[in-house]
Symmetry: C2
Subunit: 408 residues, 2 copies
């Protein structure tokens, strides 16, 4: 892709919003804010999103998940069954002008997937089953904040698991924990991600959060620096499996929640009378789990954790492009030639072919955060070479062009 | 995939809805109806959807389209600008319980993409530009009908093009026509798809529909069987480029609209004051085009056009699986062995491993409509062979197993 063909431009006139992810993603032309908590993904941002999505899809499929796609618009009756039509204040309600039908916009899909699964799960032979979707969700956040971390419309991966008993739910819950760590490692957050018990509420025994440690995070967790276990305030560290350390070793850390997993048990299967017949032909309620990751939130978290003062620093696996080619004044033809050669080799490259000053091009390269920068200048040309620099390094190195093209 | 692992089962107890696509897709476990005009895509249906989506994405990208993703939830102000907040009766309106913000659910995205493009298109040097998305849309159809052909929530590909002048819009409009024919050919509807002028209204000069000829279609078109040009009633055939034929050669045909393309001209760029500076530094309104395909509608149209009395007949490129392996009683082990060998060769195969009668398995195979059926039975085993049958053929043929595995 050439900069001059790209739909977007980098944006200079963006006021600080107080949120690094929003400011950098908007300035880089990754996203555009349409309204409070509502964003458009632009071509560069959609490329990042698609890479994150594919990683999540691969890991959910590897864990036996079958992909489906449930509607965003839900009948009122389903939400009345669980009492959430009246009690969930973030629920958007819609009445059709022509149909008059009252509908909810789904902030989650237990109310839909439970009766759906009950059509197909009849006996113990039909269990366990795992379905997931990657789908647009809606929450009327009173005060959307922190850029793409807390929005009113958001893409989410939600997997739902169905089991004959608690033991099988427990087994799969551990498989999901591992799948989540794989995902967060692949998107570049492996080193900062810790598992915590969800804070507060009667659900806390049955749910965990994946938290990415980050100075700008909204959440507070307590990390034992001795054994690297994270807990929240209400969980006594000694009760965990760490005899050689205790609450005295806990350090307060800021973090961002990047995923959560819940043992729903029979909460929803009871509400929808979702049962199966066991080997003795006895009726039992199905045990359920649910497992969520917000994709925009994850993308924003990567930006929050990995940016520096000059811009975004994308990990390789989710970067919109792998290489960012920049030509300085007087090297346009040579850059064009290199760009064509890289494209012929199927190298994932974007070329800043604008007629702009070096300073502007290099600061835009830092802002965009593509992992490898290639500079072609009259000086490098005279040496039959290019300069190659990793985004996170301060110094590039001169590489002979022939050698670079041979090895890439 | 094994049938016994699949989330769904085929459904017997489904009443006729009067719509072949809905009945076959629901019975096959491809989709599930949640509410009037609202469907869930189940694992088999989502595989078909994804194949259609990828074909459309490839052809839109080949035509220079850059993929973005705009929100479903739109500010009221955008729809007031064009008068459609008050005048569009299928528009869903939402008021947040907490925020109180009035929003629309997008049935289309001109109101969003026009101000978005105006941020990035400033001068003639920024034109032309093409963006597309594949995204969930909402229309409050008073009476949803014809299964997945007319729904209240639907996935749509919409591409928007931006041009300096009408001539450039005309040029790209022809590129899109060709891209659409490529798409409809790749999904298996090439032979039945014709281009017609959109019927009625002031827009008819500026828009075309792609119609798939189909006995159960809702639309009526007039096809000249001499020159294969399709027209609607209001267009006089002689005015087209067919000197050797005329209105007398027109035959009435039923058809389904599977795509449409519009020259919007400056309708929306005027509403949003979207202009660019030309070479002489003069302000001009941007010329726009838009190009839509409903993905669920296209999937349903494929079913309508290609089914027979026993079930669906998927074209190869969009089939959920390429091979449907069926073992008859007494050949379970041999089928299991073949299934593992096919999987090792990365063959896209589903195995009906149920302990069911042959009649049920074969009629389910016809219902599901996977292009190639493989039967393993004690009889074929005794001949070291399998029976292979194309879905649309009535007779299979016996093929030696070794030969089949070698050639696949």
């Amino acid at each position: 892709m050439k900069f001059t063909d790209l739909f977007t431009k980098t944006q200079k006139d963006i006021k600080d919003s107080g949120s690094a992810n929003a400011d950098l993603l908007v300035r880089g032309g990754y996203v555009n804010q349409l309204s409070a908590g509502i964003y458009t993904y632009l071509p560069l941002g959609w490329r990042v999103y698609k890479k994150i999505e594919e990683i999540i899809r691969e890991e959910m499929s590897a864990a036996g998940g079958q992909e489906i796609f449930m509607p965003a618009m839900h009948p009122k009756a389903n939400w009345e069954k669980t009492g959430r039509w009246e009690n969930l204040d973030v629920l958007y309600k819609v009445v059709g002008q022509l149909s008059g039908a009252e509908m909810a916009l789904g902030p989650t899909h237990e109310e839909i997937v439970t009766p759906l699964a009950s059509r197909f799960v009849l006996s113990y032979k039909d269990l366990p089953k795992y379905v997931f979707q990657i789908q647009d969700k809606f929450r009327d956040e009173a005060r959307p904040k922190s850029g793409l971390l807390r929005t009113r419309e958001f893409m989410m991966k939600d997997l739902y698991s169905f089991h004959a008993d608690e033991k099988d739910l427990d087994r799969y819950y551990e498989i999901m924990k591992n799948a989540y760590f794989k995902i967060f490692t692949r998107v570049g957050l492996g080193e900062v991600t810790v598992l915590t018990y969800a804070s507060g509420g009667s659900f806390s025994r049955y749910s965990h959060e994946f938290q990415a440690i980050c100075e700008t995070g909204e959440d507070t967790i307590y990390l034992c620096e001795k054994c690297n276990v994270a807990v929240n305030k209400e969980i006594i560290h000694e009760q965990k499996s760490c005899p050689e350390c205790g609450n005295k070793d806990l350090k307060e850390k800021k973090s961002i929640e990047i995923g959560n997993i819940f043992k729903l048990r029979d909460k929803f299967s009871k509400a929808f009378d979702f049962s199966y017949l066991d080997e003795k032909n006895q009726k039992n309620f199905v045990e359920m789990g649910c497992y969520g990751i917000g994709l925009g939130r994850l993308m924003a978290s990567i930006v929050e954790v990995l940016h520096d003062k000059s811009g975004i620093v994308w990990p390789n696996e989710v970067a919109p492009y792998k290489f960012h080619l920049v030509n300085l004044s007087g090297a346009q033809e040579e850059a064009a030639d290199l760009y064509e050669k890289l494209k012929a080799k199927k190298v994932d490259v974007i070329w800043d072919d604008r007629d702009e000053r070096a300073g502007i091009k290099l600061s835009d390269a830092d802002l965009l955060g593509i992992p490898n920068r290639i500079i072609v200048s009259p000086k490098t040309i005279s040496e039959k070479a290019i300069e190659v620099k990793r985004r996170e390094e301060s110094e590039g190195k001169i590489v002979l062009l022939d050698k670079f093209l041979k090895e890439i």
